[in-house]
Symmetry: C2
Subunit: 207 residues, 2 copies
């Protein structure tokens, strides 16, 4: 703590910020967003938990929004967008997305998305980043899974026209739940959306 509170000396001035330290700071920021709403996450919290001085954080990220945007960028896209689950049935594949180990698994990931939803409400820039890096990629993953299920004959080809709108139901219900309830959705909720809305609307598993 005392060390990181030291004012910059001659050797530090102009030296690029050590980016290898960013990973810890961004991870702590994500942890805090998974624990509480955006308005109760402060730079002081991040400083305290990382042992960095606030001035150090501010040299790297001018505002809390900038820090949170960097944290969002750091998580990358859902891995399923690179590698679609392929477990033999549409339902298993959809559940594999819900149960993905990404970002620490379902509980921590849903808690983090709850924090990101509160952050998106507070900042238009963050809202744009959450749309581009979370909501839209998930829509894309569900669209591809449903399209593949048509190709495989698991969904009737007559249903093809409704795939785009049905693919948006899971991200839409997730956002709706987070906005209405202000707490993370549980796995059961997604299972019900998959079974009672998505698969039901596409008449899967009624053959």
């Amino acid at each position: 703590m005392t060390d990181s509170n030291r004012p910059p000396d001659a050797t530090q001035v102009g030296r690029p910020f050590d980016r290898s330290r960013d990973a810890l700071i961004l991870e702590v920021t994500l942890d805090l967003l998974a624990e509480r709403a955006y308005d109760r996450v402060t730079l002081d919290d991040v400083a305290a938990r990382t042992g960095k001085a606030k001035t150090t954080l501010y040299r790297r990220w001018a505002t809390k929004d900038d820090l949170v945007l960097a944290a969002i960028h750091s998580i990358g896209l859902p891995p399923e967008i690179e590698q679609l689950p392929d477990l033999g049935s549409l339902r298993s594949d959809l559940l594999a997305v819900v149960d993905s180990p990404w970002l620490g698994g379902p509980d921590r990931r849903l808690a983090l998305f709850s924090g990101l939803t509160s952050a998106a409400r507070a900042s238009e820039r963050i809202a744009g980043a959450v749309r581009a890096e979370v909501t839209e990629p998930y829509g894309e993953i569900y669209r591809r899974l449903l399209t593949r299920a048509i190709d495989r004959g698991e969904i009737s080809a007559e249903m093809a026209a409704r795939v785009p709108i049905v693919a948006d139901v899971i991200p839409a219900m997730s956002t709706h739940y987070l906005t209405a309830a202000d707490r993370p959705a549980q796995r059961d909720f997604f299972v019900a959306v998959i079974d009672d809305v998505v698969l039901a609307a596409l008449q899967v598993g009624r053959g």
Copy 2:
């Protein structure tokens, strides 16, 4: 204009603000929200279009948020919550909600909801008001319509357990669309949600 710019005199001090004038101001506020995003609606716009002085507006509503909250309260709840449409089929009743003349009919109403969504992103208090006075009442209307359709036998009783989650699909998709697209959803979108998701998931019209 000159009259309304006059500073308060002795007879005005302490006199209650003339609430009959509120209706015009709130209606103009709603018109502006139907035309553009919240961050581009200013008190200057409201003053210019109503012919009131900004000081007059600020005496009544301390901030833009307060004015918009008052405008949201002024619209009341969707009339369908008092009187459910009853046109003989679930599909007709759901479409009657979409085609309701409330707030000037579908085009103006959807444009207004688009403005309210942008306002909700800018203010937690407005987000709460939109949830309580728009999103949740619509969820309630759809729940009642679906429940009534079960009572009438139009939806199989086996589907009863999924009614609550399916009832939330229309408001959820509406919010999702508004958040993603930043422009009002069109009627076609709601018709597709009703036919391809809601009625499909409840197996209506397949008998």
